[in-house]
Every structure is written in C-alpha cells, then in structure tokens.
C-alpha cells in the first residue's frame, strides 16, 4: 500500500480548526508528521485539542467545528483540504479509529463477529469465508476467544476489556497505515489498561501500522509510546521521544505535568501515633445489595491522625465500604466504630455529634453540591448544623474554610455549575472541613479531575491532614497515589481484603498475587520514567 516503506504515514500541514459559531480556534495551526510503524502519544488535558487533532486524521471534525485551513494526508491520500474524495473508502481501511468508550461505541444490536465482518465487507472483502477466517485471526491476535460461540455474542455480554479488544481488532482488520486511538483506556482498570497498551504495541509491530494514541495519562504514554507530543490550547508545545521525556521535555507546561505525577519514590512520612487509639474501625463489615454481597467481613482500622488507603478496581467494594462508614449504605452486617463507639447504620439514625465526626467527599464534585444553592451556602449550612453556629458565624467559618482550601470569598456566591471541577471539589472539601470532622472519607476525589488539578487536591489533602490531625479513609484505584498519601494500604478484591499493611511493605513486598499484578502494572509504567 505504501509507496516506500519509509514515507511518512500521515502528514498534517498548517491545520486550522475553529468553532463555527464564535470563530475561536480549537487548533490554531499545526504541522505533524507520523512516521511508519511508530506509536505517537498525544498528551494533554480536557479541551487541549488532542482529540480534535486525532480525529482530523480521519477527515472528521466534530459538529460545530470547521476546518479553516491546511491539509491532512494519510498514506499520501488527502483526507482534509484539497483533493478529498470518497472519505468512506479511506476510513476504516487506510486510517482507522478506536473510540474512547467501547461500551457505547459497539452497536448493542450487532453480534461482535458481525461488527468485525461488517467493516471488511464495507471495504470490499465480500467473501464470507475470508471474512470469517480474518475475524478468527484478529480475535486470537487481540487475545479474545476464537471459538464460534464468542463471535455470536452481543457487546453487552462482554467485559469492558473485551469490548476494547474487539474495537482494536476492528481497527487493525484491514492493516491500516494509521490507527487513531482516542483515550482507549479510560474507564478500564489498571491491569486491563496495561494489557491493552501492550496489545497495541504488539499489533503495531505485527502490522507495521502507525498508532496515534490520544491520552491524558502522561505516565501511561511514557511507558509505551515512541514519541510524545504534549498539547495545550490547540498547539503542540512539546515533541520528544518518550524514553527521554522526563529529561528532554523543556516546555514549562510539560514540566508542570511531570511535577504533578505522584512521586513514587518518596513515601508518606510516618507520623506520631499513640498506641491503641483508632479514629475509625471497621469490624467484619459485610455489605449487601439485596441478595448480592458486596464485601465479605472486612475489618480495617485507621489510627488517629493517619491515612488508610483502600485500593481496588471498580466493583471491588471499596466505595460501598466508604458509604457504610458515612451511613449512606445501611444494609450491612458488622460494625463501624468511630472513637471506639459503634455508629448506627443509617446516617439518619446518627446523632449530630456522630455525623460531625465523619465527613465524606464524593467522587463527582458537581453532583455532590445542591445545584440550586450557592456553594457558599452549602458550606455555611454544614457549619451551622454541625458546628451549631448562628448564621453570621457559620458564614464566617465557611469563608475561613473556603480560603483555606485555596478559593476566594467571591467564589462562594457561585452556583456549582459556575465553578470548574477542581474548584467544586475544593468547595466540597471546605464543606466537609466546616463540620470539623475527626474522620474524612475521600471517595476517588481526584478521579474526575484533570491531572494538573489532581495534584493540587492531593497536596491540599496532605497539608490539611498534617495541620488538623485528620484521620482519613482514602478510596482510590491508583496504587501509586495510595503510596503517596497513606501510611497504610489495604487492597480489596471482590469484596475481600487481600493485602493489608503499611504502604511501604504492601508495595515493596506484596504477598497476594493480585497485589503483585497491580504493583507490576504500576511499576511497568514507572520503570519507563
């Protein structure tokens, strides 16, 4: 297909894409060349234009955007600019796409085998026998069961990782020159992510296809890409080999991104502990949803003034445990103790002092604040009800907290949707602090935020913990983050604690297979740095 083996697979020249309505530039003017067989990582935060750039390789611009200037060629064929004809025959064959969320990208009413065969049929492979053989081949190449019964399954019968493998199989079906992958690992857990990226490497090596891998996860890109481009405000601000990114990246923004990666070499400092005092204790907590049991007799302790990280993948039961502690989930056996006293199960049954003692910060900051109340009011309300303060004092306490979390008083009159995600999460934190809690439960508090914002929140939490001797239960899927913030770590698998000890030993000498896999996955990305 390629004229010469070394000719660039994709060339973007002076591409300018603007918002049709306002004329504001999303991509102000970019040049990019993708060489054959290379994996190019495209890093950046929400709104940096990385997806727009990636999609332009398929000649696609999102509704509401317009291409104003420039050309894009893939394998010599123009897809944007002059001379574009029959995009349909280029898409899927010369350049293909792996979408962000495989569960919504696979047609729910088509069997997975048909999804693969359909793309071949669309590009002229009409012989059903050939289609079936190729589909078989692709499925075993991406590590899916190759038996006929798997081909007959519908997408909803597959796990998230399997769906993404199907999407990858489709993308490589016709040996394209370039595969564009748009955050293909978002929503997948750590070990699945590892498997997916090594699969991408393997497929690229096998077929010689170039890959443009769009991701906000710089660490991930550093672990497997050949070259990393950092985008900001629609421009490429950095373009260096991935292996040398840590040293070679010079742009201040790249340095900032690097700095905001949790530093895995330092551990959380050990703090003074008075033997035998626990701020929070879970005694054989078995949480249920109707007839399904979510956790099996989980026992954990958080020493006063320390942080316990509860690590697990989605579905492991970690959030359920956190909700039991807060009283938001009351269908459980066993006990939750705060300062050695058993708490009533439902939050409504708990006395005000007990509610004050445990405060909860939610994963999605916007959803945790009443959309019809100013955020300042929400904070002041906590101070008023739990602090027993009259209106005026409650408001000044609220103001103090808002300033403590790094926001200004004029943010307080805003409604939640008028603030950014990071600002909202700070407000939610201010509300929790206004109650002057003993135990702070943080449920994936950074996972819905951009990387550079995440680091700020983590720093803030650590400062607060030191300053107020807060005890924390820190729920996360990110082992490296656990290592940074928590003295102790518990690893949860299918509702059971499989590893529990001080963070250092858990990470350095994991006993359970599952933990070892998690650590290896984290390590693999780390070694590349």
């Amino acid at each position: 297909m390629t004229p010469t083996a070394d000719a660039p697979r994709a060339e973007i020249r002076d591409l300018r894409i603007v918002v049709r309505a306002s004329g504001e530039a999303v991509v102000p003017g970019i040049d990019l060349t993708v060489e054959a067989g290379r994996i190019v990582g495209l890093a950046g935060e929400t709104g940096s234009g990385k997806s727009t750039l990636g999609l332009s390789l398929l000649g696609y611009v999102a509704p509401g955007l317009d291409v104003r200037a420039g050309t894009v060629r893939v394998n010599g064929q123009p897809v944007v600019g002059e001379g574009v004809q029959n995009l349909r025959s280029v898409r899927g064959r010369t350049v293909s796409y792996v979408p962000q969320d495989p569960s919504s990208a696979l047609n729910p009413s088509l069997r997975v085998g048909d999804i693969v065969r359909e793309v071949m049929a669309a590009h002229g492979v009409l012989d059903r026998g050939a289609q079936r053989r190729r589909a078989q081949e692709l499925f075993s190449a991406v590590g899916l069961p190759a038996d006929a019964s798997f081909h007959r399954r519908y997408p909803h019968e597959l796990s998230g990782g399997q769906k993404q493998r199907v999407a990858i199989a489709v993308a490589f079906a016709l040996d394209p020159a370039v595969v564009v992958m748009d955050e293909p690992t978002t929503g997948l857990d750590v070990s699945t992510t590892r498997k997916v990226v090594s699969l991408v490497r393997e497929m690229s090596a096998r077929t010689g296809s170039s890959v443009v891998f769009v991701s906000h996860d710089l660490r991930l890109l550093m672990s497997f890409a050949d070259r990393i481009l950092v985008m900001r405000g629609g421009e490429i601000v950095e373009d260096v080999p991935a292996s040398r990114f840590a040293e070679a990246a010079t742009h201040p923004y790249s340095r900032k991104l690097l700095a905001s990666l949790p530093d895995t070499t330092t551990l959380a400092p050990r703090r003074y502990r008075r033997a035998g005092t626990y701020a929070l204790e879970l005694a054989a907590v078995s949480a249920r949803y109707g007839k399904t049991t979510a956790t099996h007799a989980v026992s954990l302790r958080v020493p006063t003034g320390e942080c316990l990280a509860l690590v697990g993948e989605s579905g492991s039961g970690k959030t359920t445990l956190a909700r039991c502690v807060a009283g938001f989930h009351s269908d459980y056996d066993g006990d939750v103790l705060v300062a050695d006293a058993v708490l009533p199960r439902a939050v409504e049954r708990r006395a005000l002092a007990q509610r004050r003692a445990v405060q909860y910060v939610f994963q999605n900051p916007h959803a945790s604040l009443n959309p019809r109340r100013s955020v300042g009011d929400s904070v002041a309300l906590a101070a008023a009800t739990l602090g027993g303060l009259p209106r005026r004092q409650a408001w000044s306490r609220a103001r103090e907290m808002v300033e403590r979390v790094g926001l200004r008083a004029d943010h307080m009159v805003a409604l939640p949707h008028e603030l950014s995600g990071g600002q909202c999460q700070r407000m939610a934190l201010a509300r929790a602090l206004a109650a002057q809690p003993d135990v702070l439960v943080c449920d994936e508090v950074t996972s819905s935020l951009d990387v550079s914002v995440q680091a700020g929140i983590v720093d803030l939490l650590q400062d607060l913990q030191k300053e107020r001797r807060l005890s924390m239960l820190f729920i996360t899927h990110d082992l490296t983050l656990a290592r940074v913030v928590a003295e102790n770590t518990a690893v949860l698998l299918d509702g059971t604690v499989v590893e529990y000890g001080d963070s250092q030993s858990v990470l350095q000498a994991p006993r359970h297979d599952y933990t070892r896999r998690l650590v290896e996955a984290a390590q693999a990305t780390h070694d590349q740095m």
């Binding site: 995009l87 979408p99 793309v119 909803h156 999407a167 579905g315």
Partner: protein, 338 residues
C-alpha cells in the same frame, strides 16, 4: 458508587438472561395483563355499582315509581351483598355475558359484537396507515436535524397535539365534506344490515382524523429516537470505519430506535382506542364509542360497564401485543439498559 452500579448491573443482566426466553416473557406479560384486567374490573364495578348512594335513583331519576325502583333493584341484584354482586358480574364477563341493557332489554353482548368489529376495523385501518407513515416521516426528519421536514414535523406536532380529536374532525368535515371541497360524506351512518366497511368512503374521514391526531406524537418520538441513535458513539464509530450511510441508517440506527419507538406505538394504539370515542360521535360512526356515549347519556349502567370492560381489555391487548413485539424484535435494547 461505581461499586453500586456494577453490582446492580450484573444482577440485572443475570435476571434478564433467565427471563430472556420469549415463552417466559409472553407468560409474564400475560399474567400482568390478567392482573391489570382484574384491577380494572374492580374499578369499573366500584365506580358504577358499589359506591354509596342510590344508583337506582340516579338511573331512573326522581320521578320513578316505587315499583320501577324495586324492579331495577332486583335486576341489578342490588339487594344482595356487594361481594356476591361483583362475583356474579365478573364471572358473567368471563363467560362474555355482560347482562342486558336497562333501556332496550337486549343482551349487552349482542349490542357490543358488531360495534366492536366496526371500532376494531377503524383502529386497524388507522394503525396500518399511521405506523408506516410515522416511522418513515420520523426517520427522514431525523436524517436532517433542523431541515424542512424536521421543522414541519415539530410544527405539526405543536398544532395538532394541542387540539382535541373532535376539533380536527370538524375541521376536516368543513374542508372535505360540507363547505370547501365537499367530496366525502360528512357522517358514517349506515342503513339496515350494511357494514360500515362495505363503503370505504364512509371510513375516510374518521380514519384521516385519527391518523392526523395520533401522527405527530408518534412521528416526533420516532424522530427523536432515530436522531439520538444517529448521534450515538457507535454510529460515529461506524462512520469512521467507512460503513456506508444506507447501511448505517438501516442496520445501525433503525434497529436500535425501534425498541423505544414501539413502546410509543403501543401507547399510541391505546390512545387511538380512546380517541375513537369522540371521533365516532363526530361522524356518527356505528362503533363502541358512540354506543358508549349514548349509554352514558341514558344512564344505561350495564351497557356502560360492558363497553368499558371491552375497550379496556382491547387497549391492554393492543398494548401488550406491541410491547411484546418490541421486546422480541430488539432483545438487545434491554441488555443495554443494564
């Protein structure tokens, strides 16, 4: 929260996998339908016969003689305990015995028979025109959001949905039967033992009115379903994989839009049955609706009870039929919800 979602999601998938069999699905829906009909019969009976206050005086008026009152009382079985009255009545209905009309003395079942056929023909012809037209229009309008057809469909929905069926009917009579372009008979009155469908001209206006009043909502729903589907991630991916537009519309968008649209179609059909009541009066169409209205005016309780039960049963049947069709035609749309 994530945990919560996944556990529930899994549980639901399992549950659906076990009930996914068409036979079990049909059985479940039928049992539900039977239960619903039982509730409806209780409501019908409660509202007409069992409420405190003397139903006999209501029926006969204040001028009735004691003798008349006593006779009606016996006829309705009002001297017996309520439960016995209900059981008698309901077991009668199960044997298709609806009692006799209080005004004409003829068995209600005889009265209902022919008229039910006339109403069902009206609904069936309407549905046969409505469903394909609404699906085609809705799909075409969805292909070009903001296009002429899109605006036309929305505009028609605003106007036609606002008006009661009888207003639309009267306007059509004015337009096509009496004043402006009189080509059709203004009423559907039949003589002797002629059936209304023997003369198709008699059906045109009632059917047209029903089609016009039911169409906007269904078309709008189909349009929304197809439009949402066309904007979905999986269609974008199909486009980016070079799948042709025709195939995208027919194999990707429509099958997934049919599920929710059939649900609306089911609602529309039951709506049609309700709509026939006023339409039949407008055109003096010899169906269940016009019979019901005159029975209500005559306070003919047994006839009212009978017709309401029949129409309610028909609504349920139609609803179940289409609902079932939807569940069987697009079994994957359920899985997606979980």
């Amino acid at each position: 929260m994530l945990k919560e979602k996944t556990t529930r999601g899994r549980a639901r998938t399992r549950r659906e996998a076990s009930t996914g069999w068409p036979a079990r699905l049909v059985l479940r829906r039928l049992i539900t339908a039977a239960a619903i009909l039982l509730v409806v019969s209780l409501v019908v009976f409660f509202l007409t016969q069992a409420l405190p206050g003397d139903v006999v005086h209501q029926i006969l008026g204040q001028t009735a003689t004691d003798e008349q009152i006593a006779r009606l009382r016996a006829e309705l079985g009002l001297d017996r305990p309520l439960v016995a009255q209900y059981l008698d009545w309901f077991s009668g209905i199960l044997r298709l015995d609806f009692g006799t009309s209080l005004t004409s003395g003829t068995p209600v079942a005889d009265l209902v028979g022919d008229r039910m056929a006339a109403t069902l023909v009206l609904v069936a012809v309407t549905a046969a025109i409505l469903l394909p037209v609404a699906f085609t229009l809705g799909t075409l309008a969805a292909r070009r959001p903001g296009g002429v057809l899109d605006h036309l469909v929305s505009g028609a929905a605003t106007v036609l949905l606002s008006l009661p069926e009888f207003v639309v009917g009267i306007l059509l009579v004015l337009l096509l039967a009496t004043n402006i372009w009189p080509v059709l008979p203004p009423t559907s009155v039949v003589s002797g033992n002629q059936r209304v469908w023997d003369d198709p001209r008699l059906m045109v206006l009632p059917v047209l009115t029903l089609v016009l009043t039911a169409m906007p909502y269904l078309t709008e729903s189909v349009k929304t379903a197809v439009r949402d589907e066309l904007a979905s991630d999986h269609i974008r991916w199909a486009r980016l994989s070079g799948i042709g537009e025709r195939r995208i519309l027919l194999r990707h968008a429509l099958p997934n839009a049919v599920g929710p649209s059939l649900q609306v179609s089911a609602m529309t059909l039951t709506y049609l049955l309700g709509g026939t009541v006023t339409i039949e009066v407008v055109f003096a169409y010899p169906g269940l609706g016009s019979a019901l209205v005159s029975a209500v005016a005559d306070r003919d309780v047994t006839v009212v009870q009978g017709i309401v039960m029949v129409v309610a049963a028909l609504s349920l049947l139609l609803y179940l039929l289409v609902d079932l069709l939807g569940a069987l035609a697009a079994p994957r749309s359920k899985g997606r919800a979980g």
